[in-house]
C-alpha cells in the first residue's frame, strides 16, 4: 500500500506563547511494498509525523493519503485507518496488559470487531510471524518473558491486525545485540513474505542503510534530506551538523579517504567497505 503525505503541518501549543511547528510543510511518498527509513535527532518531529500516519494526531493543514483514501479529511473511520496502518511505538512491551499472551495479542483484532475464529487464526498467525511458538506460550503471562520476547509479543499484537503498512518507532531501542539482530531480520522477513510497506525509525545508521529503500532526514519539523541511503549518507557533514552521523563503515572509509590519497569509497556496510579497500590495495 502506498502512502502519500502532502504539505503536512502540525503546531504545538497553538495560540500560546510556546507555539512551535512540530511539522512544517512535510511532503513525501512511500511506494507500495518499500521500506522507508526516517532519521533525525530527538525532537526533530519524527514521532509527531508517525502519529499522523495512522490518525492519532490530526494535522493543522495538509493531507495524508493511503492508496486512494484521504485519512485526514474526517471521511475515513479511525478503525479503518488502524486496520490498514499498524503503528508500533517505542518500547511497545510497556503496553502489554493481559493475563495471557494470546489474550494480549487478540486485543487488536477484537477491537476490529472480528469473529472469534478469525481472532484465533490471527493470533496464531501473528505469533508465528514474530517467531514465537503459539502452542508453547499462548497461556503464559506476557510479563514472564525476556525483554526481546516481550517486544515480539507486543509486535505480534499490532501484526495481528494485519495492517498493510507497518510503522516501527525505534523497534530495537534498548535491546541486546542478539535480540537487536533478531528483530531486524524478523522485520525483513515480514516485509518480504507479507509484502507490507514499512516505515522504520532508528538512530542506528547502519540499520537504516541496510534496511531502507529510501531515507528521509528530519530536522526542526522539516524534511531536509531525501533519497536512497547512498544519496543521503553522501552528506556526512550536513548530517553531523544536525547531530546525526553516517554508518560506522562509511565513517571509517571517509577517514581513510582523507589520509590515503586516491582512495574513494561509498560503502554503507562493513562488507562493502572491505571490498572497496581490497580493490584499492590490489590496484
Amino acid at each position: 500500500m502506498s502512502i502519500t503525505v502532502k504539505n503536512l503541518k502540525y503546531i504545538y501549543n497553538k495560540g500560546l506563547p510556546g507555539e512551535t511547528a512540530a511539522l512544517d510543510d512535510v511532503s513525501f511518498e512511500i511506494e507500495d511494498g518499500s521500506i522507508l527509513g526516517v532519521i533525525g535527532h530527538t525532537g526533530s518531529g519524527k514521532s509527531t509525523l508517525l502519529q499522523h500516519l495512522n490518525g492519532l494526531l490530526k494535522p493543522d493543514s495538509g493531507e495524508v493519503w493511503i492508496d486512494d483514501a484521504c485519512i485526514t479529511d474526517g471521511s475515513t473511520k479511525l478503525v479503518d485507518i488502524r486496520r490498514r496502518v499498524g503503528l508500533v511505538f517505542q518500547y511497545p512491551e510497556y503496553q502489554l496488559f493481559e493475563e495471557t499472551v494470546a489474550k494480549d495479542v487478540a486485543f487488536g483484532p477484537r477491537n476490529l470487531g472480528l469473529d472469534e475464529d478469525e481472532i484465533q487464526r490471527r493470533v496464531r498467525y501473528a505469533l508465528d510471524l514474530v517467531g514465537l511458538n503459539y502452542e508453547e506460550i499462548k497461556d503464559m503471562s506476557p510479563f514472564e518473558h525476556s525483554g526481546g520476547n516481550k517486544r515480539r509479543i507486543a509486535l505480534a499484537g499490532v501484526l495481528a491486525m494485519e495492517p498493510k503498512v507497518l510503522i516501527l518507532d525505534e523497534p530495537t531501542a534498548g535491546l541486546d545485540p542478539k535480540a537487536h539482530r533478531e528483530i531486524l531480520s524478523m522485520v525483513k522477513r515480514i516485509h518480504e513474505n507479507e509484502g507490507m510497506s514499512i516505515v522504520f525509525v532508528s538512530h542506528n545508521m547502519a540499520d537504516i542503510a541496510s534496511m531502507a529503500d529510501k531515507v528521509i532526514v528530519m530536522n526542526t519539523g522539516r524534511i531536509v534530506l531525501e533519497g536512497t541511503p547512498a544519496q543521503v549518507f553522501a552528506h556526512s557533514e550536513e548530517l553531523a551538523g544536525m547531530g546525526l552521523n553516517v554508518p560506522p563503515a562509511r565513517e571509517m572509509t571517509d577517514k581513510l579517504a582523507r589520509i590515503v590519497p586516491g582512495f574513494k569509497s561509498e560503502a554503507l556496510s562493513i562488507t562493502q567497505a572491505a571490498a572497496d579497500i581490497k580493490a584499492f590495495i590490489n590496484n
Binding site: 495512522n54 492519532l56 478503525v79 488502524r82 486496520r83 511505538f89 503496553q95 486485543f107 487488536g108 477491537n111
Partner: protein
Amino acid sequence: MIRDITLGQYYPADSPVHRLDARVKITATMLYIVELFLVKNFAGFLIAAAALFAVIALSRVPLRFIFRGLTAVFLIIFFTLILNIFLTDGRVLWHWKFITITYEGVIRAAFMAIRLVLLIIGSSILTLTTKPIELTDGLEKLMSPLSKIGVPSHEIALMMTIALRFIPTLMEETDKIIKAQQARGADFESGNIIQRAKSLIPILVPLFISSFRIAQELALAMEARCYHGGKGRTRMNEIHFHRGDAVAAVLLIGFLAVIIASRQLGSVL
C-alpha cells in the same frame, strides 16, 4: 482538561510574595483559612478580600490565572449556593409551590459562597507563589518539632516531594499508553458506562506496572546516592528568615487582630 486545574500549580515570577519564607506563607495560609471561619459579617469579608487582593497584586500572578483555578471547583460553589438558598428557614421572600426562598437563605448562601471563593483563592496563592520543593521544605521545617514525638516529618515531606515530582511523568506515561492502545484500535469514547470502565483496563494495567518500575528505579537511584533518611541530612539551599518575613509576620498578626475586631460589628447569621 487536567491542565486547567491551577490548584497546586506554580507560577514563576520574581515578587515579594515569591521571595517570602515558605514557612511564613504556609502559616499565613492556614491562619487565613481559620480567619475566614472567624468572620461573622460582610465587613469582615471585605477586609479579608482586600487583604487577599493586596497579596495577589504584590505577587504579580495574573488574575485570570487565579480565576482559572476557580472554574475547577465551580460545581461545589454552585451546590453550596443552591442548598443554602432553598433549605434555610426564615422570613419568606418568594414562594412558589414547594420552593421557598427566604431572606436568611439568600444571606447565608452569599456568605458561604464568598467564604469558599476566598478560601480557594487564598490557598491557591500559596502554591502559585511557592515552588513545590520550597513548600515541602517549609512543611518539613514546620513539622520538625513533631518529630520529637515520633512523627516522621522528613519522610512525609519527601513523600510529598516525590508525589509532586512524578505527576507530570505519569501524565506523560498515560498519554503514551493511551496512544499505543488507540493504535491497536482501542476505543475509549463510546459504549455505556460499564464498557467505558472496562476500556480503561488496557491503560491502568500498564500504568500500574510503569509506576512500580519508576518507583523501583527511583529507590535504586536514591540508594546509589547513599540516601539514608532525614538524619544528619543538610541541604543545598537552607531556608532563612529574612526581614521581609518578619514584616509579613507582623502584618499577619495585625490582620488577625482586625478580623477579630470586625466580629464586634455584629453577626449576619
